[in-house]
Structure formats: structure tokens, C-alpha cells
């Protein structure tokens, strides 16, 4: 019978058990890939970030102190990889001021497109620090505490960023969503 918890898998990984490594990869590959894709908006770069994340997991599994938070650790490493790629490519990863959008306001994007595509594009247009909290919360159901640990910020900052991102998305997408539900 395969071990269930991440902790057990990490213990086995410390003794270089490649099966444990494979199980951890299968467990988190989709969530990490979705997150990296959401941040980087490019399949190849997202794949590179996921690869680097698991390379670090294999190399540093011995040094992973708190083995109960493997998921948060993986997301944190993946996020750092994404930010490094963005920095390397001279993308702005830091937000100054209250502006939430990184690209044009998505109202122009919405016309004539499907709801999911439009929301996806609206998400892509958010600045990275707002996009990452929405992705971690909405797609992966991570708690405020986990998101705070991953993004190296406080829970109140996470709460505030989630609200601002939702408010921006709601005001931009309300016409489309109202039309969709016939309200």
C-alpha cells in the first residue's frame, strides 16, 4: 500500500526513493502547472518552472524543515521560479500604488468572446501579485495562511489583495456575467 501523507513521501525521498519522488510529482504536477501557467501565461516557461521546482525538491528534500507543509513549500518555490523568469524577462513583478491591472482594462477584451475565455483573459490582465492570490485561492483552495506563507506576506495582506482583485474583476466582468445569467 502506498503512503498517503506528504510527510511519509518526503521521508522516503530523503533516502533517495525515486518512487516517492514520482508520487509527489503526480500529486502536485497539475496544481503547480496551472499556477505557473496562470502566472507566466506561457506553456513552455510554465513547464520550465515546474521542472525547476521538482529539481529543487529532489535536491533539498533533506533541508525541508517543516514536512507538514510540503504543498505550501512547492507553491512557494514555483512562485519564486515564476517571478525569477519574469524578472529575467524584464516583467514588472512588483505593484506600486493601487492599480490592479497589468494590461488594458479587460472591458475591451470581453466583446464577442466566451465567458470562460473572457474571465481567463481578465485574470491574465491582473498584475501578478493579484493574479497569484486569485489562482491560489480559487483554483487550489489554499487557506489564507498558506497563501501568506507562499507569497511571503501577511494574512491581512492576502485578504486585502483578494478583495481588490475580486472587486476589479467584478466591476470589469459584471456586464458579461449578468448577461450570462440573464439578470
Amino acid at each position: 500500500m502506498e503512503p498517503v501523507t506528504d510527510r511519509e513521501l518526503l521521508d522516503r525521498l530523503c533516502s533517495r526513493d525515486s518512487r516517492a519522488f514520482e508520487l509527489l510529482y503526480q500529486r502536485y504536477k497539475v496544481a503547480l502547472f496551472r499556477f505557473c501557467l496562470g502566472i507566466l501565461k506561457d506553456q513552455h516557461r510554465a513547464e520550465d518552472a515546474v521542472h525547476e521546482t521538482f529539481l529543487k525538491l529532489f535536491r533539498w528534500s533533506d533541508a525541508l524543515q517543516d514536512r507538514t507543509s510540503c504543498r505550501a513549500w512547492l507553491f512557494r518555490v514555483a512562485r519564486n521560479e515564476c517571478l525569477m523568469v519574469m524578472r529575467r524577462e524584464r516583467h514588472s513583478a512588483i505593484v506600486d500604488g493601487e492599480d490592479v491591472w497589468d494590461e488594458d482594462t479587460p472591458l475591451t477584451i470581453l466583446v464577442g468572446q466566451q465567458t470562460q475565455d473572457s474571465i481567463s483573459k481578465a485574470l491574465d490582465a491582473l498584475k501578478v501579485e493579484y493574479r497569484e492570490v486569485i489562482l491560489l485561492r480559487e483554483s487550489d483552495r489554499l487557506s489564507y495562511a498558506e497563501i501568506a506563507a507562499i507569497t511571503d506576506s501577511s494574512e491581512s495582506a492576502v485578504k486585502s489583495r483578494l478583495f481588490k482583485a475580486r472587486r476589479a474583476l467584478a466591476s470589469a466582468l459584471a456586464p458579461l456575467l449578468d448577461e450570462r445569467t440573464g439578470i
Partner: protein
């Protein structure tokens, strides 16, 4: 509280991080505020649509790249390091008399080396400079000339 503050509470409520007391106050406000109800409706719709996003396909190429990591990490170790690690872990079987003889030889060699070291320590002590006492004084003849008030020593 302003609508902006209630809308922040709506965001927290959707995430299930609002306590019952705050939720009660929020719903009282929602019953009389169209703007906040509209925000709640839109945010819930967003929540549902994002949750229903299709799961992205992880390519077989990424699977292969990642799952090769343990093999590559093993093969990339320097050959000498691998050899030393294997040597350290290697088990060897020798007869008991041979093991006892080897151990005894090691103890005797160590004792011999220790005694040699002690002996060389003893011979290498540097002698202190000795003090030489002259027991006999040389004969001295003193001649005096009272008239001239002079003294001559021979």
C-alpha cells in the same frame, strides 16, 4: 461600516474565513443594499466559473523531464565520490582469527609507535646550561709602598 468594508467581508465570506457574528452583520446589511448584493452575486459567479476552468494538460515531455531527475542526479555524481561511498558501505567477510590477529597487530603497532615517540621525546630534551664554580682562587701578591701611598697587585 461602509459598502467597501462590507464587500471586503463578502470576499472573506466566500472564502469561508468569516466568523458567524460577522456573517450575521453582513447579511443584515445585504438585505438592504443592492450594490453589495450585486457584488456578492458577481463574485460568486466568478468563483464558480474559475472553479470550472478546465484542468490544463501537463505534457508528456514535462513528465519525462521531471521523472528523469532522480536518475540524472545519481549519474551526475563524480565517479570518485560514488566509488568512495560504495566502498564505505561495502560489507566484507573475514574469519574471526584473521580479524583478531589484525586487531592485535594494530594494537601492537600503535604501542610500538607510541613508545618510539616517547623515547624520542626524552632524547630531544635540551640540556640546561650548567653553572661552574671555581673552588680555588689564584694566588695574589699585594705590595704596598707607604711612602708613596700606592698598592700593586701581582
Amino acid at each position: 461600516m461602509s459598502c467597501a468594508q462590507f464587500q471586503q467581508q463578502i470576499s472573506t465570506y466566500i472564502d469561508g474565513e468569516t466568523d458567524d457574528r460577522d456573517a450575521g452583520v453582513l447579511f443584515t446589511h445585504l438585505s438592504g443594499c443592492d450594490d453589495c448584493r450585486a457584488f456578492l452575486r458577481t463574485t460568486l459567479q466568478l468563483h464558480q466559473v474559475i472553479a470550472a476552468f478546465p484542468t490544463p494538460d501537463v505534457s508528456g515531455a514535462l513528465d519525462r523531464r521531471v521523472l528523469r531527475i532522480p536518475d540524472r542526479a545519481t549519474t551526475q555524481r563524480p565517479a570518485i565520490r560514488v566509488w568512495l561511498e560504495e566502498l564505505w558501505k561495502r560489507r566484507i567477510a573475514i574469519p574471526l582469527p584473521a580479524a583478531v590477529t589484525t586487531l592485535l597487530a594494530l594494537v601492537l603497532t600503535a604501542a610500538f609507535a607510541l613508545s618510539l615517540a616517547l623515547r624520542s621525546d626524552r632524547t630531544s630534551v635540551t640540556a640546561r646550561p650548567e653553572t661552574v664554580y671555581i673552588m680555588e682562587m689564584p694566588a695574589v701578591e699585594i705590595q704596598g709602598d707607604p711612602a708613596r701611598q700606592t698598592t700593586t697587585i701581582h
